[in-house]
Subunit: 149 residues, 6 copies
């Protein structure tokens, strides 16, 4: 097959594959070392003690070489299954500060959430035969963070 010629070339053919998943969660920004006034001064309305929430959108990008038998990097269904089981089920319709095991004792900022999701899924994606390249996490249509490990 012509596809297998990809493997014979000297140059590595690296492809980046991205899956989008979504979750709806409550959170607040809050530093427990500060009193309420200091929290409000720094975090503003994001520190509302009664919580607020977001429709988070997560883009997970993995990289790898094309598998000559399938024509893809990894099976998107496998990637989606990992994300649903280990990220979405933990976060969707949950309170990030209270309900999520892997966020216990950590700031519920988009930055920290992105880093902690990386820790959870990075070994599982490696086991699929690809490398985790980037997690992009959108909190609103006007702001998002990206983490490359």
């Amino acid at each position: 097959m012509i596809l297998s010629l990809y493997l014979l070339s000297n140059k590595k053919i690296m492809i980046y594959l991205t899956r989008r998943e979504r979750f709806n969660a409550a959170h607040k920004l809050h530093n427990p070392d500060w009193d309420d006034q200091k929290n409000h001064e720094v975090f503003g309305k994001c520190s509302n003690p009664n919580w607020h929430g977001h429709n988070y959108i997560m883009y997970v990008t993995v990289k790898g070489e094309v598998n000559p038998e399938t024509g893809w990097v990894i099976d998107l269904k496998d990637l989606s299954k990992i994300l649903k089981e280990h990220v979405i089920e933990q976060l969707d319709h949950k309170n990030i500060n209270v309900d999520v095991e892997f966020m216990k004792g950590k700031w519920a900022s988009t930055e920290v959430l992105c880093i902690e999701i990386w820790k959870v899924i990075e070994p599982k994606i490696k086991a699929l035969g690809a490398d985790l390249h980037c997690i992009k996490l959108e909190e609103t249509e006007n702001n998002y963070v990206e983490y490359y490990g």
Copy 2:
């Protein structure tokens, strides 16, 4: 001016003008007449007692005739000011079940929220010289409600 001819015609020239605004809030679906088990049976993950949240998108449509001096129905800045003061400031970064005066004692469903926002802004839009036509409230990219009064 040619524009004023619009007013002289027999047929009313009705224009619909829509403004989009957004707010990020926490909520849960919960019937206080039911115990936790019944709430969970009916509302599923939406009844999480620790809350979850959304980026709500609100589209407010007003209708009226074109003002011959300005070429518009009403001043969008006036409409936006009403929406920001009476809706967005009440809801953004808030808990819909707990923090919002006009939602006290009411279900925090998108349907009821939409109806209650109507009650708040309908007289204020009338005072601007236009009629409130529709409020569309998106909870996620996959579901929204519309209310026409």
Copy 3:
């Protein structure tokens, strides 16, 4: 409860609820009463005998009164289940002209597809206690059809 007051008012409180679902399918525009040349003249590239395809986006809008026990019109999960079972599973990753039972012997245009989906889901939505109001079917970002029954 305050919510139940909605039911006591003289005016009916009608709410419109919309669910978005998606399916990816192949089709071609083809009138079997015409020869290939005539089909190509009328339908152009849409008549490619080897098929082409789309990511269809379907918006199903139902209307009804707010249920005083839940604060919603109908359970979105019930609506989504109907759409997934009777529409998406029939159409997703299928050939509209060949694979879909309820499209047998019918034109695979967006207009006809929209009408036929209506026939399939209208009685099922009635059984949920709401009325089907509109089906909107997007074929591309530049064109869509709407059907109100």
Copy 4:
């Protein structure tokens, strides 16, 4: 053909078909009966004498019955051709206040532009065998107008 049965039923089967087109134009809001100060008071930054501009998005919705020979209401290519020739070519990369024949002597507001586009295309769509139902004109992601004639 089964499709032709649509025509034999007593109930009219009305379908709404929408085409999206875009144009990028400069404009300002300006009432020539007022001096600059009054224009600035009413129109604010929209009255900048050096112009500003927008990526306008236009949705044109026509209605009609399904043609039993084609399965569509009208040929989208015909609709698009009318819109491109009579609207987009007149407005795209133009100054709405200065360059556009059918806007001469009229306010360059989104409302008036929408009404004037209706006048231009309504008879041409009638000639295609359908009725113009609605023109929706988006000026920004946060505001749009709709006109139903």
Copy 5:
């Protein structure tokens, strides 16, 4: 002109310019070395022998220095012309497995399609005076691939 000073600085001013184009095509995932059962086991519904399809969205990013006479990297019209002639016309309203010359004998996965488009356009973009940097190909709103050569 001040613009020409850009060229005199020691540091190269590299700009990335992206053009979005779209095509609607049918395909299936299918390894001819496998029987139908194996194809179905691996590719699932994507292996439907009667095809399915997508609205593909392609983003082509080129990089280069700003031309001091025009203020742009390359003429977007030239870039768009290359993409339309060599990619869109080959793929739009086509069957990727059957109709497309440059995909003959290759897997119709998004990954392989992206690589093969690169081979087609890379020399033509070089001839315009810029370098092809990335092709991003979206198959659905939930998955896309990127290739950097």
Copy 6:
């Protein structure tokens, strides 16, 4: 606190944070060293002497390490304030060729605009304690430029 452990690790934890802002402006492409005919030959409809305009969308990406006291890179409100004061207020509802101090004597192309915005905001973002990584500027839904300094 667990968060502070991030700082103690040997590996730098770099996070990319992006803010989206929008402005609506008029411009034309025009080389003053050329006569009108040459400008029209090269720039086509973009050289309309009466101007045209766009809804520009700007994405500003900064990078930095997570602040252990806040869980974020920098305060988004500070970033937004810089962008609003030094970019949006200069460009929104303005004529890029005529009204904008930092574009005086420069081509009003998206490429050059992107570079000049970089020069304006790069030192101000450094003062916030982060590095400017990328500015992405969308002119239409079909084209954008990116600049990395």
